[in-house]
C-alpha cells in the first residue's frame, strides 16, 4: 500500500508539472460560469473523428453483438465483475480524498462481492444495502484543489479533461490488483473495463447513437454532455456549486416565441 501511495505522489507531481507548465489555464471566473475551456479544439476534433470511425466499424457493432448474443443477466455479471475489480483502487482514492466512510463502503463491497458474490460476478453488497461507490483519481485531484484544466478527447477512451486524464493514467498504472504477484491477472482490470464499456454501449445504443450520429455537431454535444455531467458528479451534495450554472427564466427576451 505504502508503495502505491508513494508512486502516486511521484507520478502526479511529475505529470502535473509537465501539463500545467505546457498549457494555458482557464480563469477562475470563466470556470465558475461553467464555460468550456477547449484550447486544443483542432486536435480534439481530429481525435473525435478517429474515435467515431473506431466506434462505427469496431466498437458499436461489437457492443451490439455482445448484448444480443450474451443474455442480459450475464452482461450484468460482467459489469459487476469489472466494478468489483475497480474497488481496491477506489478504496485508495477514497482514503486520499479523506472520505473514510466511502473507503469503508468500498472495502465492504469488495469483501462481500469477492466472497459470497462469486469472485465479483454477483452484487450481494447492494442487496445488503452497502451504497454504490464510484470515484477515481481525477476526483482525488479535484479534492486536492486542482482545477479541471482543458477539455481533451483521448483516442479510444473519449472525452475527458487534462486533470482527469492524469487520473486515468494513474488509475491504470496503480490499480492494486496489478500488484498481485501472479502475473496472469495483469491488466485484468483493463480488459474487464472494456467489456463493461461494451455492455453500456450496447444497452444504451439508441441514446449514444443519437448523440454521435444524429446531432448536427457530435463533437460539441459530447463535449457539453461530458463536462456538465462530470462537474455535476464532482459537486456531489454541494448543491450551491451549481448555482452559477443555472439559467435565469427572466434573463431572456421571449417576445415573439
Amino acid at each position: 500500500m505504502k508503495l502505491i501511495f508513494q508512486f502516486r505522489f511521484l507520478f502526479v507531481s511529475l505529470v502535473l508539472t509537465a501539463f500545467l507548465s505546457s498549457c494555458g489555464t482557464q480563469s477562475a471566473e470563466s470556470l465558475a460560469r461553467g464555460e468550456i475551456f477547449d484550447p486544443y479544439e483542432n486536435t480534439n476534433r481530429a481525435m473525435h473523428k478517429f474515435n467515431l470511425g473506431v466506434d462505427k466499424v469496431l466498437f458499436r457493432p461489437a457492443s451490439k453483438g455482445y448484448v444480443t448474443i450474451v443474455p442480459p443477466p450475464m452482461v450484468d455479471s460482467f459489469n459487476y465483475f469489472a466494478e468489483n475489480l475497480s474497488m481496491p483502487g477506489m478504496i485508495v482514492d477514497s482514503i486520499l480524498q479523506g472520505d473514510i466512510k466511502q473507503a469503508g463502503n468500498a472495502t465492504a463491497r469488495f469483501l462481500l462481492n469477492s466472497t459470497i458474490g462469486f469472485a465479483g460476478l454477483a452484487d450481494p453488497a447492494t442487496e445488503f444495502g452497502v451504497p454504490a461507490v464510484d470515484t477515481d483519481f481525477g476526483e482525488t485531484l479535484h479534492h486536492w484543489g486542482f482545477s479541471e484544466g482543458a477539455y481533451v478527447e483521448l483516442p479510444l477512451y473519449g472525452p475527458t479533461t487534462t486533470r482527469d486524464a492524469v487520473g486515468i493514467i494513474v488509475n491504470i498504472f496503480t490499480n492494486p490488483i496489478d500488484f498481485a504477484p501472479t502475473r496472469p491477472v495483469d491488466n485484468l482490470g483493463v480488459w474487464a473495463e472494456i467489456v463493461h464499456r461494451m455492455g453500456d454501449r450496447g444497452r444504451y445504443s439508441d441514446t449514444v447513437d443519437s448523440i454521435l450520429y444524429e446531432s448536427a455537431d457530435s463533437y460539441a454535444q459530447a463535449r457539453l454532455l461530458f463536462l456538465q455531467n462530470r462537474r455535476f458528479e464532482l459537486a456531489g451534495d454541494d448543491q450551491d456549486a451549481n448555482l452559477e450554472l443555472y439559467t435565469d427564466p427572466y434573463a431572456i427576451d421571449t417576445e415573439g416565441f
Binding site: 439508441d206 454532455l225 456538465q228 455535476f232 427564466p249
Partner: protein, 200 residues
C-alpha cells in the same frame, strides 16, 4: 433551505412550510405548487409510457404534455440564443412550433427506455426566483439517477423551464444543437426550421 420530503407535504404541514418559505405571500408559486406541477407531469408521463400506444401516438402525447407543462416560449427563445435577435417574428413563431415537435420526438424516444421504470419526486427548494424540484428516475437494471426540474411562474402560470438529467442541462444542450444546425446551414434560419421539422 431544507429539502422537503413528499411525506412532509402529505401530512398537512405543507401549507405552513410553504408559507414560511415564500417571502412574498402574493407570489402564486410556492414549493407546494411547484411540486404539484411536477407530480402531475410525472403522473402524465408515466401514464403515456404505460399506455402501450404506438410510437407516433406516444410522440403526440408527449408534445401535448410538453405544451401543457413547460414554458415553451422561453425554452424556444433560449435554444435559438443570440440568433433570435435577427429572426423575424414569423420565423420565431415557426421555430417555436417546429421545436416543440422536435423536442417531443427526441425526448419521447428516450422515454421509451423508461418502460417499466418510474420517476419519483424527492424534494423541492427555492433558487433565486424559481423552484427546483428534484426527482429520482428508476430504470430497469440501472442505478437510480437524478432528474431535476426548474419551475417558474414567469408567464403567470406555474411551468417548468429547464430540466437537468444528472447535471446535463436541456436548455444548453439544445442551444448547442440549434447553434450547430445554423452553422451548418450558414446561418439560414428558414432552412434550419425546415430541417428541424424533418428530424426524428
Amino acid at each position: 433551505m431544507p429539502i422537503l420530503t413528499r411525506r412532509l407535504f402529505s401530512t398537512g404541514l405543507c401549507g405552513v412550510v410553504a408559507a414560511a418559505a415564500a417571502p412574498t405571500p402574493l407570489l402564486a408559486l410556492t414549493e407546494a405548487s411547484a411540486e404539484k406541477l411536477i407530480d402531475a407531469l410525472v403522473a402524465d408521463i408515466n401514464k403515456v409510457i404505460a399506455s402501450g400506444k404506438s410510437e407516433s401516438g406516444m410522440y403526440k402525447e408527449f408534445e401535448r404534455i410538453f405544451a401543457r407543462y413547460s414554458d415553451t416560449s422561453y425554452i424556444a427563445a433560449y435554444a435559438m440564443g443570440v440568433d433570435a435577435r435577427r429572426a423575424s417574428s414569423a420565423q420565431k413563431k415557426a421555430f417555436s412550433k417546429a421545436f416543440q415537435g422536435y423536442i417531443s420526438r427526441k425526448y419521447g424516444k428516450r422515454f421509451r427506455e423508461f418502460i417499466g421504470g418510474k420517476l419519483e419526486v424527492t424534494g423541492v427548494r427555492k433558487v433565486k426566483s424559481w423552484y427546483e424540484v428534484s426527482t429520482l428516475a428508476y430504470l430497469r437494471g440501472q442505478a437510480p439517477f437524478e432528474v431535476t426540474f426548474h419551475v417558474s411562474d414567469r408567464t403567470g402560470k406555474d411551468l417548468f423551464f429547464n430540466m437537468y438529467i444528472e447535471g446535463v442541462n436541456l436548455l444548453l444542450t439544445e442551444r448547442t444543437e440549434i447553434g450547430a444546425m445554423l452553422d451548418r446551414r450558414k446561418g439560414n434560419i428558414d432552412q434550419m426550421i425546415a430541417d428541424l421539422k424533418k428530424l426524428s
